[in-house]
Every structure is written in structure tokens, then in C-alpha cells.
């Protein structure tokens, strides 16, 4: 018996899977060697073996099995869940995949661009806010500088008239004011006690004609009791004013004095 004949006797047993391990290994090595006759004979033997399934008693699977299967298959067909299957490569035209890929790339790039733009806009908004805050700070400083310069001019100008405001309470400090006929009126003081809660100090111009006190600016000292206040356009002219008075008033000021003046200074 030739070697080929020996292996041909193993074909049916190999096809049904009954060869013991050593014979199976030997036969597989023979097949791997490229025996076309055995390969062809094995295909026929496998077909024959498959027909043994008809020896099984007829049986029918439940309807539920089909229901489960079809539910799964329909879901996977709808969702395209089995993307690893090569079938999908042939089921969808290449140009559609290319379109999808292009759309995907475009979407990703668009998303990135949008994100970049959003970030740029946010950065610009932040920079604008910073610049706005800086501008407001500079404007405030400029305003403060202008006020200080204006006050300095009032205090230093020879045309200004100095007014001493004496306290009613001798324990209180004396205040001083400087009034320039054109630049305005300044008042300042040191070691001035803070007014009560929700109250502030208010300047009044007492007319020479004996009319009602004219309300002017409100102010309050800082933590050290220091304050400087200025009004560029007093409610009445210095020539028409008999005296200056300061009272303690509710926050926001009053239209007419609600308390006895704490300081009074005659305008000379």
C-alpha cells in the first residue's frame, strides 16, 4: 500500500472527526504537503458526512427562537452594528463611504474650527472686558486727578476765599473751606467722627436774604476721619451766601436740614 493509499483511508474518518490525535496530525501534515487528490476527496467526504444530519429525528425550533433572531438581525441591520463584517464593504458603494468620510472629516474640522472660533471670541471678549476695566480705571484715575487738580487750583488760587467752619461741639475738629467765585467750593477736614449708621454729612449754603438753606453736596469722612469734598457749581453765588453749615442727614441727603448744624462758617 502506497503512502497516498494510507492517507486516502483516513479521509472519511478525518471528515467525520473520529481520527485519534496522532493520525489526525499526520493527515493534516499530508494535506499541508499539497495532495490535491486527498483535498478533493476530503471535500466529497465532508459533504457525505454532512448528510448524516438527516439521521436526527425531525424537530422544529420554537417561534420564539425565530423572533429573537429576527429582532437581533433587524436591529443590527438598522444600526450597522457589525461594521467588522466585510459584507458591509460590498453592500455600500465606495463613493458613499468616501462621501461619509469627507463629511466626517469636514464635521471634525468644522467642530475644531468652531471650537477655535469660540475660544477666540471668548479670548477677545475677555480682552475687551480687561481693556474696559482698565479704561474705567484710567478714567477714574484721570477723573480723580482732574478733581485733585481742580481742588488744588481752588485751594491755591489767590481769588479763593477761605472759610473756617467752627464746630458747635468744642470736642469736634474745626473744618475749612475754600470758595473760588468761578472754580467752585471745597471743604475738607481731619479727625472728623463718622456719622451714624445710614447717615452722612451735608453742606448747606445759608442765603444772606434770610431764605431757606440751600442744600449742597453730601460727603462722609474715611476711616481716619479725613475728607475732601468739592462742588464746582454751588447752588448760589458766594456773594449771595451768608454762611456755610454742615449737618448730619440721612443717607442720600435732604432737601432741608433735619438736624442742628454741627459746623458753621461765615462767608466774609
Amino acid at each position: 500500500m502506497s503512502t497516498n493509499d494510507q492517507f486516502r483511508e483516513l479521509i472519511e474518518a478525518y471528515a467525520i472527526g473520529s481520527l485519534d490525535a496522532s493520525e489526525r496530525a499526520a493527515f493534516e501534515a499530508h494535506l499541508a504537503g499539497g495532495c490535491d487528490d486527498c483535498v478533493k476527496a476530503l471535500e466529497e467526504a465532508r459533504w457525505t458526512v454532512s448528510q448524516l444530519a438527516y439521521l436526527a429525528p425531525n424537530a422544529e425550533p420554537s417561534d420564539m427562537l425565530k423572533g429573537r433572531l429576527m429582532q437581533t438581525v433587524r436591529a443590527e441591520a438598522a444600526s450597522g452594528a457589525k461594521s467588522e463584517s466585510p459584507v458591509r464593504k460590498t453592500a455600500v458603494p465606495w463613493w458613499l463611504w468616501a462621501g461619509v468620510a469627507a463629511l466626517l472629516i469636514f464635521s471634525v474640522l468644522s467642530a475644531r474650527n468652531e471650537q477655535r472660533l469660540r475660544q477666540a471670541v471668548a479670548d477677545l471678549q475677555h480682552q475687551a472686558q480687561v481693556q474696559q476695566a482698565e479704561r474705567e480705571r484710567l478714567e477714574a484715575e484721570l477723573g480723580e486727578a482732574k478733581t485733585q487738580a481742580h481742588e488744588a487750583m481752588i485751594w491755591s488760587d489767590p481769588n479763593s476765599v477761605k472759610i473756617m467752619l467752627r464746630p458747635k461741639d468744642p470736642k469736634m475738629p474745626q473744618l475749612e473751606a475754600m470758595w473760588h467765585p468761578e472754580l467752585g467750593l471745597c471743604v475738607r477736614g481731619w479727625k472728623v467722627p463718622s456719622p451714624g449708621d445710614k447717615r452722612m454729612l451735608q453742606l448747606w449754603l445759608i442765603p444772606k436774604a434770610g431764605g431757606k438753606p440751600m442744600p449742597s453736596m453730601t460727603f462722609w469722612p474715611d476711616a481716619t476721619g479725613t475728607f475732601t469734598a468739592m462742588v464746582e457749581n454751588p447752588p448760589q453765588a458766594m456773594s449771595e451766601t451768608q454762611a456755610l453749615a454742615i449737618t448730619e442727614e440721612p443717607a442720600g441727603g435732604s432737601a432741608q436740614p433735619t438736624s442742628t448744624p454741627m459746623w458753621v462758617g461765615r462767608v466774609s
Binding site: A59, E60, S62, R74, A91
Partner: protein, 195 residues
């Protein structure tokens, strides 16, 4: 050629399978459903014969058909479909048998009856050829001596090796080898005669 008689192009009962498989390659759910209708009975019968437990058999059948759906591209459309499907199902069932020690469990449930035995042949035309072929296979194998038939059944439905069959039947190893080979050759000739 012997196989040519069962090729998709020359056999009425296989050709529709090839067409359906081509549709299945395009993810045609309808083609899958028709393939299931055509072959689920023989696949289930085979798996149930191996596992002898209805619920487990249905699980395996479900796996087999899902594999068909998900990996249809692995099927060579030039080959007969049903033998390929039956081989797939048998391998899965034998794997299950070995994996879960079903053999021992099955001995304990020898009295269990086969559930849902098909009471009548399916109505479609394909079933007629299948029925005819099934009868031929049963006749051919049934004509063998009972020990030889038993040896073939142990090999096919139990997945036993020559040595295991010889031990089970208390027969010489060489005798078992001859029984299996000769029985399959006889089946081949018998089926060739009706094709």
C-alpha cells in the same frame, strides 16, 4: 464530478441558497429570514440530536444563524450551502457538548423527549427534496449492521474518536475504523445514485 451534482448551479435545492447568500452579503434581512425558514428545522434537529436538550439546542441554533448573518462573507458561494451550514452547526453543538460536560448531564436526562417534533413536512418545495434525501440517508444507514450504525452515530453525534468508540462498543479499533469508513463510502454511493 460527484460534488458537481450538489453544486448550486445544478441542484434545485441549493441554487436558491446561493442566491439568498448573495442577498445576505448585502445585509438583506429578508434573505436571512428565508434561509432560516428553509434550514432551521434540519439545523435544529441535528443540534437537538447532539445536545438532547431543547433550550441549549436553541441557543446553539441561534448562535449558528447569527454567525451566518454576521460572517456571511466567510461563506464561499461556489460551495453547497447546506452542508456548510450543517457542518457549522454540528461543530458548534459538539463544542457545546464538550464545553459544558453535557454528556454527563444527558445521561441523567435520558428520559427527556424531543420537544416540538415536526408533525408534517414543510410546505415549500425545497422540503420535498430534503425529505427525500433524509429518507435515503436513513435507509442507507439503517441498512448497516446495528453496531456499525452505532459507531457512525457515536462519531457523528457524539464526536467520539475511533479509540473512544472502540472502548464504548468494546470492539477492536481496526474494526471501528473499517465500519466508519465503509459506512460513509456506502452512504456516498447511495446518495450519488439518487442524484
Amino acid at each position: 464530478m460527484f460534488l458537481a451534482a450538489f453544486s448550486p448551479k445544478s441542484s434545485d435545492d441549493v441554487s436558491p441558497d446561493a442566491t439568498l447568500m448573495e442577498h445576505l452579503l448585502r445585509r438583506d434581512v429578508g434573505a436571512f429570514e428565508e434561509l432560516y425558514e428553509r434550514h432551521s428545522r434540519i439545523v435544529y434537529s441535528l443540534v437537538l440530536r447532539i445536545l438532547r436538550q431543547g433550550a441549549t439546542a436553541e441557543e446553539v441554533v441561534q448562535d449558528v444563524f447569527l454567525q451566518l448573518w454576521r460572517n456571511s462573507a466567510h461563506y464561499d458561494v461556489s460551495r453547497p450551502f447546506l452542508p456548510w451550514l450543517l457542518t457549522l452547526a454540528r461543530n458548534r453543538a459538539l463544542d457545546q457538548l464538550r464545553l459544558k460536560g453535557e454528556r454527563q448531564r444527558r445521561r441523567e436526562e435520558q428520559t427527556e423527549e424531543f420537544p416540538q417534533i415536526a408533525s408534517a413536512a414543510p410546505e415549500y418545495e425545497q422540503a420535498l427534496d430534503e425529505k427525500r434525501r433524509a429518507e435515503r440517508v436513513r435507509t442507507l444507514i439503517g441498512s448497516l449492521p446495528s453496531a456499525q450504525k452505532k459507531a457512525i452515530e457515536l462519531a457523528y453525534f457524539e464526536g467520539l474518536s475511533h479509540s473512544e468508540i472502540a472502548a464504548s462498543l468494546k470492539e477492536p479499533l481496526g474494526t471501528v475504523k473499517s465500519w466508519i469508513r465503509n459506512g460513509l463510502l456506502r452512504l456516498k454511493e447511495g446518495l450519488q445514485a439518487i442524484s
